[in-house]
């Protein structure tokens, strides 16, 4: 009797495990399949953006690297993302430090303000900012608004990630450093900063990837003749429908992936736990 029950229990366990694994596979497939499809379509030897591809070829990647407008767009996107990431990294970290450690009276207001770009629809932020840059007389010249817009949108990611690390920060470690003779700035540089680095890097990584992918803000605030990858891609797909678009997408996916891998290499995402 008990043997039977045990056997039944075990087969239920097994069925459960099986179901769980199937679910995982499906979930990952759902997430990864579009990416795989894009890559396959980019390797298409045919003339049209279609699936299944007609033969394999790298011709559309070659076409991409021959295309001046796309190369320019990639470089612009990289540049904007890099600037936005750095500025967000600095401002977001500073804001998080102030918010977690020193803000008393306007604490909640500050938090809402900081994450507002995340809560509002991107297009609203973009329109508001467009009015703003024209109001102050800068307009779309030089893509100033583009940098500001990207920074605004990416700022919350750094702010939230650094705040999370700071909430769990054991202040007695800093006190220990001070009692060992470390001045405020030394303690910040040698103790605090290395310890919150995981949050800063995670936030910056998000910032970069988000900026790289941003559409509405870029569309409204880009300078004349300026274009980022999503904008250029959008422009291109209006008139053309060939696998070059898939090749561009693939490259942009690879760049995002590259950033994550690079971050992992430099700081070691797994080594970030203490």
């Amino acid at each position: 009797m008990t043997v039977k029950a045990e056997r039944l229990g075990r087969s239920i366990d097994r069925a459960y495990q099986w179901a769980f694994r199937s679910f995982l596979v499906l979930a990952y497939a759902f997430l990864a399949l579009p990416i795989v499809l894009i890559l396959l379509m980019a390797l298409n030897a045919g003339e049209l953006l279609e699936f299944p591809p007609k033969g394999m070829s790298l011709r559309w990647f070659v076409a991409l690297f021959d295309s001046e407008i796309f190369i320019k767009a990639i470089l612009t996107s990289l540049q904007v993302a890099a600037v936005a990431t750095c500025v967000s990294g600095l401002l977001g970290t500073a804001a998080a430090l102030y918010f977690v450690r020193h803000a008393h009276r306007f604490r909640e207001a500050l938090r809402v303000l900081m994450i507002a770009p995340l809560l509002l629809p991107e297009i609203l932020t973009a329109i508001a900012l467009l009015f703003f840059v024209h109001q102050i007389g800068v307009g779309n010249r030089g893509g100033f608004g583009l940098y500001v817009g990207h920074t605004m949108i990416t700022l919350p990611f750094v702010f939230l990630n650094v705040s999370a690390v700071l909430y769990n920060f054991d202040r007695s470690i800093e006190l220990a450093a001070r009692s060992l003779g470390g001045r405020t700035w030394t303690v910040f540089r040698r103790i605090t900063l290395p310890m919150i680095k995981p949050g800063v890097f995670a936030g910056c990584m998000f910032a970069f990837v988000v900026s790289f992918d941003l559409f509405a803000v870029s569309l409204l605030l880009k300078g004349i003749g300026q274009s980022t990858i999503p904008i250029q891609l959008y422009d291109y797909l209006r008139w053309d429908f060939d696998p070059l678009a898939a090749a561009v997408s693939s490259v942009s996916i690879l760049i995002s992936l590259g950033v994550v891998l690079l971050a992992d290499r430099i700081v070691g995402l797994r080594a970030l736990r203490f």
Binding site: L180, G182, F274
Partner: protein, 354 residues
Amino acid sequence: MTVLSIRSLVKRFQSVVAVDNASLQTREGELISLLGPSGCGKTTTLWTVAGFETPDSGTVHFDGVDVTNLLPEQRDVGMVFQNYALFPHMTVYANCLFGLEMRGVGRDVARQRITKVLDMVQLTGLETRYPRELSGGQQQRVALARALVIEPAVLLLDEPLANLDAVLRDEMRFFIRSLQQRVGITTLYVTHDQSEALLISDRIAVMFEGRIEQIGTPDEIYARPITQRVARFVGLSNLLAGKLRRQAGGFAIVESSAGPIRAIDNRAIADGAAATLLVRPEMISLGDGPESAEANRFTGTVEDSFFLGSVVDYRIRTVDGLLLQVHGRPVSRLAKGASVTVSFLASATWILAA
């Protein structure tokens, strides 16, 4: 070696008075424990000495020099935190090096000093480990090494053993005590554990509600507490209410509900005043005891008994209705309800204010 003195320290947090006019002065190389329940202000006092808190009034002096307004980094203290507060991103060696770097100690001298201190705390060979790779006891010793390597004027320990398991805690008590004596450093040690304080201290300052209630050697605190709550906080106690009647020869009688009890006189209490008699459970023996003019004897029955390993903790109800806590040897244990005679000498007692 440094003389640490705290003078009339007051610290308020909003309306709560955390430290209320606390004063104490160490001798050179002395270890003083601040002992008290949580929230009694012992940690605040320690933090004020470390410079992490600024007192509302009062001063802290190291060797007569007023350091009250100095920042922590200017004070020359070694601090060990309850959770160790090691730098998680640095190796054991780098943890120890930090303080020396801040003091501008040269590389070679630093290496020598770190080697020496790691040897002292028995961590040689673990220099390249990170804190997360060490056991709790090892982390504790790194924290000690890091505090001692800078050869500070004063060592401050904030409940350093609270996070260790019981066996390790017992070991580390002896370890810290012998280390402190070998180094000969003036030390302030915060704890809520009375047995830890008794074992480790040269003197104990017992704190309640922000005040230092009594300061004295462990045996003074244990045998001659000045208030009932000190008596209750340090060790187990039988407290019997009565009225003091002074006798000749340094003795006194406490007229209790169970009749007169002979006790050692306490001159601080007026003849005829209400008084409380303290007698520790281990000072009461089962049986008649020696025939002596000093002896107090009660008969009663065993109401309850608890086996504690080294002793049996009896609750004995005397015929007059007193409930006495008595520690007996764990051999031939008395059954519940057994009738028994207990006795204790006047010299084993102490009289407190009511």
